[in-house]
């Protein structure tokens, strides 16, 4: 099993993702923007967070136009798994692989803190056995405010693609538990087929007890089990 982790200029979470993977005995492979030839050997690609290319124009847009990302639709179509974390989620939206876009937080502030997310009934094996669970997981972003058209939101709901929603500790989803203004408190979504997951919270930073939470491990565990 070979899992790639992207590293663009400005990506700063790739080591955290590699560490989470290695705790399962998996050595992830760093994938750079021109490594299109390496895609064929991968079973999954994790697009790590950070600020790719500085995120100056719009978060994720420049990375979305790199050679590796232009090849991604094919990779996804072949049924391979793709997980976009934080900036990775923004990149997936800008490539059009996931619907919607992440815009500036309602507070206009960078938000870096622990939040709770409720795991919904999902079409993705990456969230297997997690329905209705409430995770404690950190977020750290300036543009995490999920926006999509009403039709897109309705479609996401219909196909069980709204994977994670910001909630309180009890799993109550309300404005009070919305850290960034996301529509419907959306923290993460999947594609129709369920092999692509994009999320603003950082599961790799909630993968060890010494970090304060292990809730995020589930995603990596499910991925690895599925690839075995």
């Amino acid at each position: 099993m070979k899992i790639g982790v992207t590293k663009f200029p400005g990506t700063n979470n790739e080591q955290d993702v590699l560490r989470a993977l290695s705790s399962f005995g998996i050595e992830g492979v760093l994938i750079y923007e021109k490594d299109t030839d390496k895609l064929k050997d991968l079973n999954a690609l994790i697009i790590a967070g950070g600020f790719s290319f500085g995120d100056y124009l719009r978060p994720g847009i420049i990375a979305a136009k790199t050679a590796i990302m232009q090849e991604l639709p094919k990779f996804v179509e072949q049924g391979n798994f793709v997980i976009g974390i934080c900036n990775g989620f923004q990149i997936l939206c800008e490539t059009g692989i996931l619907p919607g876009v992440l815009t500036t937080n309602r507070s206009t502030k960078f938000v870096s803190r622990w939040v709770y997310v409720k795991i919904n009934k999902s079409n993705s094996v990456l969230l297997r056995n997690s329905e209705n669970k409430i995770w404690r997981i950190p977020i750290a972003h300036f543009d995490g405010n999920y926006y999509a058209t009403n039709e897109q939101i309705a479609e996401l709901k219909k196909k069980n693609q709204i994977a994670l929603q910001y909630s309180d500790e009890e799993g109550v989803i309300s404005e009070n538990s919305n850290p960034n203004g996301s529509m419907d408190n959306i923290a993460g979504i999947t594609n129709k087929e369920g092999n692509v997951l994009g999320l603003m919270p950082h599961p790799e930073r909630a993968s060890f007890s010494y970090l304060g939470s292990e809730d995020g491990r589930t995603i990596f565990q499910n991925l690895i089990e599925e690839l075995k």
Binding site: L57, I61, K65, T104, T108, A148
Partner: protein
């Protein structure tokens, strides 16, 4: 098969004949007229001279990337061009005061402008081709906003090129008129003629008039001077190296349905400072891209592609384009 030729248009000095395959033949006649047809004459060789000047100038403009209707010269007084729908607005670019500009504003002839001036005129003989503001031309549906931007920028680019070309042969380009047309697929390109009938040219050294003003002012030997312009243009061995620069500004705004946190924060501050009349603040982006090419329909399409693919996210943003040629 019988080829039916259709006369599309017959003007004061030219005929336009429709050919197949979205092409037309432009026939330059020897007739010349001035003062809205009050003064009319036939001048032998005038059609051929203007045909040659047009051909040479279109070839020069094509060389620099200006999109024109010119395809090739067919005979001494005929050009083959792309078929276009001529728009009823013509643009005039002025480097030095002359002609109707002096009459309209009561200014002296021969004063150079600090920056070239572009004016729009409504092509209508009965109304004597009145000056028209861009606002009127757009609101009466003669041109749209995009065409207005392209016309102005292309006119300035053509001026920049022709000033340099004529300088090389010792002539001063005082002013000129351009006409534009829409191709079948809606692209705006340079059309009609660019000749001694549609511009003012003075000898750089003596100030001697070389253009149609010779006819208007009864200065004589009109065709000789037209032929001299053509001759000197033909002698140019190497076209001047011109650094072309078109600045394209793409302005991006958030759609009204999308939350604008930065705008909301700003309006709160403005209200706090006592600007009670402020009702909404929207914060967008302005991106300026410099191209080393001339403005035109092609560059507009390139800018639209860039805007759709990268600069703006159509889900949450709208954009508008502006050209400036420097």
């Amino acid at each position: 098969m019988v080829l039916v030729l259709e006369k599309l248009y017959s003007g004061k000095a030219k005929d336009v004949i429709t050919l197949g395959g979205e092409k037309v033949k432009i026939v330059f006649r020897n007739s010349i007229s001035a003062f809205d047809g009050v003064k009319v004459d036939e001048l032998k060789g005038k059609g051929e001279a203007n045909c040659k000047i047009s051909k040479l100038l279109f070839e020069i403009l094509n060389h620099y990337g200006i999109e024109t209707h010119y395809l090739k010269q067919e005979s001494k007084n005929e050009l083959i061009c792309k078929k276009v729908e001529i728009i009823p607005v013509e643009s005039v670019c002025r480097n030095i005061t002359a002609g109707s500009f002096c009459r309209r504003y009561g200014v002296e002839k021969g004063i150079p402008f600090e920056k070239p001036i572009v004016e729009l005129f409504y092509k209508n003989d009965e109304l004597h081709d009145p000056l028209v503001t861009e606002e009127v031309a757009i609101s009466l549906g003669w041109i749209n906003e995009k065409e207005n931007i392209i016309i102005k920028a292309v006119t300035l680019a053509v001026n920049y090129i022709l000033v340099a070309v004529f300088k090389k042969i010792g002539l001063t380009l005082v002013d000129f008129k351009l006409e534009f047309g829409r191709t079948k697929d809606g692209k705006l390109i340079l059309a009609d003629e660019i000749s001694a009938d549609t511009m003012r040219l003075w000898e750089e050294n003596s100030g001697e008039i070389k253009d149609k003003d010779r006819y208007r002012k009864d200065l004589g030997s009109v065709v000789d001077h037209y032929n001299d312009i053509a001759f000197r243009l033909e002698q140019i061995k190497e076209l001047p190296k011109i650094k072309l620069k078109t600045k394209v500004r793409v302005t991006i705004d958030l759609k009204v349905s999308v939350l604008d946190p930065a705008g909301d924060i700003t309006i709160r501050s403005l209200l706090r400072l006592g600007y009670k009349q402020v009702s909404k603040v929207n914060i967008g982006k302005s991106i300026v891209i410099s191209f080393t090419s001339v403005p035109g329909s092609k560059l507009w399409d390139v800018t639209e592609t860039i805007s759709n693919e990268i600069l703006a996210n159509p889900l949450i943003e709208t954009y508008s384009i502006d050209f400036s040629f420097e």
